[in-house]
Amino acid sequence: MAETNVVLKVDGLEKSFADNRILSGVSFEIDRGQIKVICGPSGSGKSTLLRCLNLLTEPDKGRVWLEGQEITNANVDVNSVRQRIGFVFQEFNLFNHLTALRNVSLALEKVKKMSKDEANALAMKELARVNLANDAHKYPAELSGGQKQRVAIARALAMNPVIMFYDEPTSALDPHLIGEVLDVMKKLAQEKLTSLVVTHEIGFARSVADEIMFMGEGKILEHGPPSQIIDKPTHEAVRLFFKRINELYRRDED
């Protein structure tokens, strides 16, 4: 496997559920250290895209390469691929019967085969990285939404992935909790952790993203730097989307 700068390459991804064509040909690349954001209306296939990329959902057509290795090949060991991709879900999906510390250390012990002490030490380090060292012994039901999502991020980070996928990480949070999660994500972005983020948080995208890809009707309609996509898009649907969002924010300021 050659040392390549392209961490993720996607070519012609298609996926349908029953008669619904969700993805109709998605192609893009992400280089090491890049932060790419996917925006778009609901139903445009953003979540499906992420789940196809880490093989939680099987794409109908198309190919995906992770660090030069084709992962859509039938002979691939799915579990070892998934270890290299960190996935953060909109609904957190923490393991409710385990403490925050154990949530993070479980996969380290069982999948990476670390000893209990090694796993706990690494887990504490990751929890500290997301500012939750003091809550390591708490159970998910005792944590706020923002704390839960940060545990989820720590859990994904602990596996030392080559790329992080965030599927609308703040969409299920109360507004006053969104900030703490975005701050953690910004910090990780500054550390050049390659990331693919699906989000509606335009402010985050504007300040952190290297590129925004706008999805609609199952394809990438337009892509480019934030200043272009948000302020001066060429595609009609993209213009309309951001125009509406700007109106929404302006109305709130009145």
Binding site: N93, A107, K110, A141
Partner: protein, 199 residues
């Protein structure tokens, strides 16, 4: 006898429940059949068939072991329904999260799904186990020396049904009560902090 049947029966229930939810077509179908048969036949009939019919095909079990086998199958079948339902109630998202971390399906089931499913199934399972304690009286009909059988024999010799059966009943009730309390303590001990029913 019940002390032996219970753990094996519960273990069987977990196997059947998991097979029905996660198994491929063959396993799942086989498990469903097993469950259907042993929930469909009355327990006494199952015991009688094991004890009387199996020898016809050359399989000989003592009364004690016939009873154990019968109870394991019956309670396993009933308990597996609780297990199956509770497995399905653990959110699918946690399943996705476990797999996204690279866990294999067995790891996901053992470390994430079952710990939560079994805690939720505990009230139902404990109910079935207490039933089993009481149904152990059926074993007397295939010759196992146990309390109800002794009571019956005693009654046929002395004919004082009210005192005899009432006393037997009291003993069963006492054992059942100990079980109720025991299970309540167990539920409390394995309760996941923060997940409590609103009072």
């Amino acid at each position: 006898m019940i002390v032996v049947s219970v753990p094996i029966g519960t273990a069987l229930a977990i196997v059947l429940g998991v097979a029905r939810v996660y198994g491929n077509r063959a396993f799942s179908l086989a498990a469903t059949c097993v469950v259907g048969v042993f929930r469909g036949f009355p327990a006494i009939v199952t015991l009688l068939i094991i004890f009387f019919a199996l020898p016809e095909v050359g399989v000989y079990f003592s009364p004690y072991w016939s009873a154990v086998l019968g109870f394991v199958l019956v309670t396993g079948a009933y308990q597996s329904e609780y297990v199956r339902g509770c497995i399905q109630s653990v959110s699918a998202g946690q399943s996705l999260a476990a797999r996204a971390l690279g866990m294999t399906r067995p790891q996901e089931v053992i470390y994430v799904i079952l710990p939560q499913a079994l805690r939720a199934a505990l009230p139902g399972i404990s109910n079935e186990i207490i039933y089993l304690v009481l149904y152990s009286s059926l074993a007397s009909y295939i010759g196992v020396q146990e309390m109800f059988g002794v009571a019956r024999t005693f009654n046929s010799l002395n004919f004082r049904p009210i005192e005899i059966f009432f006393t037997a009943g009291l003993v069963y009730a006492a054992i059942a009560t100990v079980c109720f309390v025991g299970f309540r303590l167990l539920e409390r001990r394995v309760r996941i902090p923060g997940v409590e029913a609103a009072r």
